[in-house]
Subunit: 335 residues, 2 copies
């Protein structure tokens, strides 16, 4: 695997969505790599931010509570930074259909204003944007590579597509070095498990820990790929460190592909208790479901040397262990 | 060619951007086809709206001055309409880089709110959206068909891409019948010629009529295709009339492809006076230039029977004739 060596030693790094799942995991890695890390997060209850995600590194990062829609705060916060990991976003597909303007403000407009802030106040910054495989919509072929057409199935997908492309345009037109990673389902400790807003798997993990029945929508044969959060974070660091990533978009992905029924069974097996059952799709979810998906990550492997290293079973095991121990910090038992 | 017969007889039709170039030409065709036509336009001076575009049909259409960003007005105006031709947009690539938020408000947010208005107040409406070949960016291959990746080169392209996809998502998720036409350079009487904001060719036409030197940026070998506005309007009508268009995006295009130097020469030849010269690209235009472009319009030909019928020479001839006669309504001689 390619590496980033001492790239981040003494460097100033800003992470939007820094109290969230991937943002906080990235922060952990960066403080260990010697970076001065500042985290921006709005702690909107429905989103992924959680102060407990910083447990153990509270004194090694600077936390700035702000919303990425707040243009003036962002104008200030980008100044003096060497790297921006731009992870703040509205992630719920269902919420994007119910409140499309909120999704637009966060996933489109705020992205544009963050890039404008960089252009005006810190054009030398390097930006890595967290995009999503959701923008491909229902795949035309599998595995999905970066040559696959973008045809999103929901408002969230449309807005993330635009947010991604603002980054590429600002790279190409203004030379604000930027690239985007199209994440697939990312899992691990500190993911949102309170509900299914970030990923259905978070909800499943909570259900199995609470001894409730996991509901698998559809017929359970839908294929998916998953990345351990440590592997995803590695991709962000490599993309930040390598100039060859500038102006590019890269899929993440996994050599392991699994259907949802087998995934539920694996979760129950690892946890050594729990049940699941197959239920029909609710209508609002069916309308935006993408069927089978798994991605081709050859491009980032070739360009940056990234490959996912953590087996799915191991990710599920450590995620279940984390939430078994820390449940109290992630949901109210009465909910 | 397929036809739309008496589809629009007695039907209620709303056109956003209705005082603009294509919108007003569409209005002319629709009143002749027996439709009740309402036009929405904000008459922003930098955009394409011009009341003179209605000369001769003033008494046969209803004009409502409003901005598509005005959500409440749009909520009202879509009600009771059978068809919506959604043509209002910010079209200037350069302006989109200078004022990216304005472009976002018009080309993204207003599109979303128009679709929300349809969903809540008139879900039976049929919508045809004016998209643009600009969203393809610099072509990977020629001619560009609809399977070509979208990789816009400027903020306008990103926002138009999002605006297009909101339409497709609302078609697929909510059954608001909608489709999009990716227009190439459209020319003809009533185009904006005051400046190059709508198309460079409008500016050239003004220059040649005013006896000024046409400036061809680059080396003049960039290939382009052009549609006569009557052909473009025909595509809008066919797309509205045919259910097979729902949820689809279609390129327009032309069998005639010409480079910019030859186009300038043709313009001078038809006008029987004028001059042109090749000049280097200004930096801000070079950064967002797309190189060669011409589109493949096989999909719309096969699905709707559309083919462009007006030869380029004839379009240029009648456009020059129109502006020679009506210049006073389109620009101030002193400008």
């Amino acid at each position: 695997m390619a590496s980033y060596g001492s790239t981040f030693q003494g460097k100033r790094v800003l992470i939007t969505g820094g109290l969230g799942f991937i943002g906080s995991t990235l922060a952990r890695r960066l403080v260990d790599a010697g970076a001065e890390v500042a985290l921006v997060d709005s702690l909107i209850p429905e989103y992924g931010g959680n102060l407990f995600n910083l447990a153990g590194i509270e004194d090694r990062v600077r936390v700035n509570i702000a919303d990425v829609r707040d243009q003036y705060s962002m104008n200030y916060l980008v100044q003096g930074q060497d790297y921006l990991f731009n992870l703040a976003g509205q992630t719920s597909h269902i919420d994007s259909m119910r409140e499309p303007y909120t999704d637009l403000e966060i996933n489109c407009r705020a992205q544009l204003s963050i890039l404008e802030a960089c252009r005006r106040y810190n054009p030398g910054i390097k930006v890595v944007f967290a995009s999503t495989r959701q923008i491909y919509g229902t795949p035309d072929y599998l595995p999905v590579d970066e040559k696959h057409l973008l045809h999103p199935t929901d408002v969230n997908g449309v807005n993330k597509m635009a947010g991604e492309w603002y980054h590429i345009v600002y790279n190409n037109v203004y030379g604000i070095r930027a690239c985007a990673l199209r994440l697939t389902n990312t899992i691990g400790p500190r993911m949102r498990v309170k509900d299914a807003r970030q990923t259905f798997l978070g909800w499943w993990i909570r259900q199995v820990i609470e001894g409730k029945d996991i509901q698998v929508f559809g017929d359970g044969t839908q294929l998916r790929d998953f990345n351990d959060v440590d592997d995803a974070v590695e991709a962000f660091l490599l993309a930040a460190a390598h100039e060859g990533a500038n102006g590019k978009v890269f899929n993440l992905g996994s050599a392991e592909v699994i259907n949802l029924k087998d995934l539920a069974a694996l979760l129950v097996e690892i946890h050594e208790k729990g049940t699941f059952r197959i239920v029909p799709f609710p209508a609002d979810r069916k309308a935006i479901d993408i069927g089978h998906y798994y991605g081709d990550y050859t491009a980032i492997r070739q360009a940056l040397g990234w490959t996912p290293g953590v087996p799915l079973r191991e990710t599920l095991r450590r995620t279940l262990a984390y939430y078994t121990q820390h449940a109290v910090h992630y949901w109210e038992p009465s909910e």
